[in-house]
């Protein structure tokens, strides 16, 4: 056995650790700390080799083959292409063709309230009293008060005044629900700190 030979050849350089039967290197003593002469564990070596192979393959895929999943712009373009294809296959009604109709059933109004609390309340406050955006409970309206007026505002926003368009964030139905919630439920209530009236009285 080759390893047996080596052991015998260098015997004087080593001692045997009695607890593990491994070889201690004789002249390695540091403040009483000894060192064993064990080889690298084979599984550890293989782990190291595999990660190196992974790295080499990875870099070749990027630098030589410019793989789609490693070139960032292309990965993004592909994701968006798939989305566009999916969107085209579905037929969502454009906002202009959507039939605006005030909803009064409890389920729609509750859904509208949920959207209101999550999104609109950030500027109009949860009770509709207004802070950054106008008060929605009083009889004064800046841009009209018909369901169609409100639907248009929520859809396209009033960007110069800070009202955002929600056509890309909320579906036609969701927007209709929240408009209905405003007109049916919120309007006419008494908020804690109402903002002063803005716009014209209707």
């Amino acid at each position: 056995m080759a390893s047996e030979n080596i052991k015998q050849q260098n015997n004087e350089d080593y001692e045997i650790d009695t607890l593990t039967n491994d070889r201690l290197i004789k002249d390695h003593v540091y403040d009483g700390i000894r060192e064993l002469d064990n080889d690298l564990p084979p599984w550890w070596k293989w782990l190291f080799y595999i990660t190196i192979v992974f790295a080499v393959v990875y870099l070749i895929r990027l630098f030589v083959f410019h793989s789609d999943d490693l070139v960032q712009d292309r990965e993004y373009a592909n994701e968006m292409k798939n989305v566009a294809a999916a969107k085209a296959s579905e037929s969502t009604t454009p906002a202009a063709e959507f039939k605006v109709e005030l909803l009064t059933d409890d389920a729609s109004l509750a859904a509208g309230q949920e959207t209101w609390t999550k999104i609109c309340a950030a500027c109009h406050l949860a009770d509709g009293g207004g802070l950054v955006g106008p008060n929605m409970t009083d009889d004064y309206w800046i841009h009209g008060n018909t369901p169609q007026d409100l639907f248009n505002i929520v859809t396209n926003g009033i960007i110069e005044k800070g009202m955002l368009p929600y056509k890309d964030q909320l579906s036609n139905e969701k927007r209709m629900e929240v408009v209905s919630y405003i007109l049916v439920k919120l309007h006419g209530t008494t908020p804690a700190n109402p903002k002063e009236p803005q716009g014209e009285k209707y």
Partner: protein, 716 residues
């Protein structure tokens, strides 16, 4: 062989031990405070020096540089003389090292709450303190190297290799990352901008983890584990291979903090691949630590010191497997910006760093005070509380991270974001934040037991100031040695070789980012900040907004829909420092100012929101910043700032610093003030809030101004 007598002085070991214990509990208490601030956002009560964004750097820097830092010095000052059989070279240098380091910590603890920060993660200290850190670090290195020169033992032991690597690399990292031009005694701009600054910062940040939180702790492990277990090191060969592989590979891995950012693909790929190649070298350390305990496992069952070492080293192994996994782009797409990062680093700090520190001190205290540990039972209790606390801390955050990341990416069948309101994703994971705070409370409780135990041990024993030892003079080896063994006999050459090895990766990554133009493609419409926006940005930087708000939209459909067109390298060229951030506790702000995007808010919203975030969003966990409305904007430094930026290459018109800049600043402030007035808000135009609003409204705008294709994209 004639034995030479000499004496170890334990004075500095004791001082560093006390400092480690003291700063440890402080850093943990600050951490616990900010964990609660995330649940109770109004806890800071509108007091500026208690707000999350100012305390968070105090916690991270406290844990890293004060707790772990003093622990490292303790390990080095105790073990080096014993391993080299000579006292430390200079008591004076040692004292300067100790008191200088405490001064740095004290200054950090003062400046962060005052809102003085560079806002580069773990490099937040302002420039005068950076200079002090550098001086102290050089003093430390000088003392270490001169002790090696004076040694009686021919070969340096593996623990010392790690100390050497720590010293040279931290010196290089710290100096290069902090190159900056002062504009005043308290403020400076980095010489790097935007994406280049980001690369340098994460080369530093990642390797602060590598060379401040890993290599010196491995050195600590290599001394104290065999000492405490009285067992030989498992494999000398493994020590050699994993040491060199670790320090060579680690330095390359920094870009994995910038995956899917505007960093070029090639740099990201180096970050990914070198992180994966780090698994084995890291585990080499773990194996050498754990297998050293072969034949001593019966002791591990009883001895709290060894128990802590075992959990610590195991946590190291877990963490260094998790890290490379997080570096895979597919995993990172999910994990980045979430609490996963926070959970990951705490396995490292609470598990690896703290457990090793605790174990070391439980072993050292009885020896420094020549007595038994006051209570082994209490130390065992500490061990169990700490381990449980660590799990309670991390596991909920993994849940939180998965939940939130999936919510961010979720679309409805109609193609809308399922959770367009960012806040909803925060409210969802808040229960996990409660559990985290509970885990933190457990961990701190354990640390208090630790202090009591150390205190009682010190009180019961008598401090051993001087220890006698004897060793023969340095011998020349009798027979021919292998190449590495020869290097171990030449510590100065060893240091130089280590320096060369750690320089390679950093240079290959950083230099091309400067020399190759295509890495940062210019965008014509991107213009420098106006003076008011610049002052606003400096407020944003000082307050540490980046700790919760990223400015880096990744090229994913879910992010582009939520925040707007993804961030381009060319957009960041005037950002000194860059403010990409690495955690989204709040939404990304990279395109906050773009009016056509969902995140846009009018000036009055920002005003109200800074004053009282919960008034606008009852469930918001943003703390109030009312002082921004009360405090005047200090413009005394403006011309100096403009001058420094002009020198660094920002194309302000000639002579802009003299007068015109201030006039422009005032004009823009008046505009914003009058807009606020129209919205019913009366505020003077010289308040800080005006500058901050100006900055927020500028964010991300330039790309949309210049690129019709982009504006079409977002209007679709």
């Amino acid at each position: 062989m004639e034995l030479q007598k000499f004496t170890y002085d334990n004075k500095l070991s004791r001082l560093f031990l006390y400092a480690t214990v003291f700063w440890g509990i402080i850093a943990m208490l600050v951490g616990l405070t900010i964990a609660f601030e995330l649940i109770f956002p109004r806890m800071s009560g509108g007091i500026e020096w208690l707000v999350f964004s100012r305390l968070r750097p105090l916690h991270t820097n406290g844990a890293i540089f004060a707790f772990v830092g003093n622990g490292i010095f303790l390990a080095v000052y105790y073990s080096t003389p014993r391993l080299l059989k000579t006292p430390m070279y200079s008591k004076t240098l040692g004292c300067i090292n100790f008191w200088g380091w405490q001064l740095v910590i004290l200054l950090a603890a003062i400046t962060y709450p005052l809102g003085l920060s560079q806002s580069k993660e773990y490099a937040e200290l302002i420039w005068p303190i950076d200079v002090l850190v550098t001086i102290i670090w050089v003093v430390f290195g000088l003392n270490l190297i001169m002790t090696m020169v004076k040694r009686r033992v021919k070969h340096i032991y593996v623990a010392i290799w790690f100390y050497i690597a720590t010293w040279v690399t931290v010196a290089v990292l710290y100096i290069v990352n902090n190159l900056q031009i002062p504009t005043s005694f308290l403020h400076s701009y980095p010489v790097y901008a935007g994406i280049q600054d980001a690369l340098v910062q994460w080369w530093y940040g990642h390797n602060a983890v590598a060379f401040f939180l890993t290599t010196p702790i491995l050195g600590m492990m290599y001394y104290f584990v065999p000492k405490a277990s009285n067992r030989p090191i498992y494999s000398y060969k493994l020590s050699i291979i994993h040491f060199w592989a670790l320090i060579f590979l680690y330095i390359w891995a920094g870009p994995h903090h910038l995956l899917y950012s505007a960093l070029p693909d090639w740099a990201q790929a180096l970050g990914v691949t070198f992180s994966i190649m780090l698994i084995a070298p890291s585990w080499g350390g773990m194996i050498n630590g754990l297998l050293t305990l072969r034949g001593a496992w019966d002791k591990v069952r009883e001895d709290p010191v060894l128990k802590m070492f075992v959990v610590g080293v195991t946590a190291y192994g877990m963490s260094t497997f998790e890290g490379p996994m997080l570096s895979l782009k597919t995993v990172n797409a999910l994990s980045h910006f979430t609490d996963w990062t926070i959970a990951h680093v705490h396995i490292g700090t609470l598990g690896w760093n703290s457990m090793l520190n605790f174990g070391m001190i439980y072993w050292l205290a009885p020896r420094l005070f020549k007595t038994k540990l006051w209570s082994t039972k209490l130390a065992n209790v500490h061990f169990w509380i700490a381990t449980t606390g660590m799990l309670f801390f991390s596991i909920p955050l993994y849940f939180a991270a998965f939940t939130q990341a999936l919510m961010w990416k979720q679309f409805t069948p109609e193609g809308y974001l399922a959770y367009p309101n960012f806040l909803e994703t925060v409210t969802q994971i808040l229960p996990m934040y409660y559990l985290r705070a509970f885990g933190g409370t457990l961990y701190v409780t354990g640390a208090i037991l630790f202090i009591v135990n150390v205190w009682k041990t010190a009180a019961a024993g008598k401090f051993v100031r001087y220890e006698e030892d004897a060793a023969p003079a340095k011998q020349t080896p009798k027979h021919k040695e292998g190449i590495h063994r020869r290097l171990e006999g030449k510590p100065l050459q060893f240091t130089v070789v280590a320096l060369i090895v750690i320089l390679i990766g950093g240079m290959i990554e950083i230099i091309p980012m400067y020399l190759v133009k295509s890495n940062v493609p210019t965008i014509a419409s991107v213009k420098p900040y106006t003076p008011l926006e610049l002052e606003g940005r400096d407020i944003y930087v000082n307050e540490g907004c980046y700790l919760c708000h990223s400015q880096m939209i990744r090229p994913f459909r879910s992010e582009v829909e939520r925040y707007g067109e993804y961030t381009k390298a060319g957009e960041t060229v005037y950002d000194r420092p860059f403010q990409f951030g690495s955690k989204r506790t709040g939404p990304d702000l990279a395109r906050e100012g773009v009016k056509s995007l969902p995140n846009y808010k009018p000036n009055s919203w920002h005003y109200n929101h800074m004053l009282d975030p919960q008034k606008l969003n009852a469930e918001s966990i943003m703390p109030p910043y009312p002082w921004l409305i009360e405090n005047d904007l200090d413009v005394s430094n403006l011309s100096s700032k403009i001058r420094v930026l002009t020198n660094l290459g920002t194309p302000y018109p000639e002579g802009y610093a003299d007068g015109q800049a201030l006039a422009d600043l005032n004009a823009q402030a008046k505009e914003i003030t009058s807009d606020l007035k129209n919205a019913g808000i009366e505020v003077e135009s010289n308040k800080q809030i005006i500058a901050l609003i100006a900055y927020l409204q500028r964010l991300g705008v330039d790309l949309y101004n210049g690129n019709s294709q982009t504006s079409q994209l977002s209007n679709q």
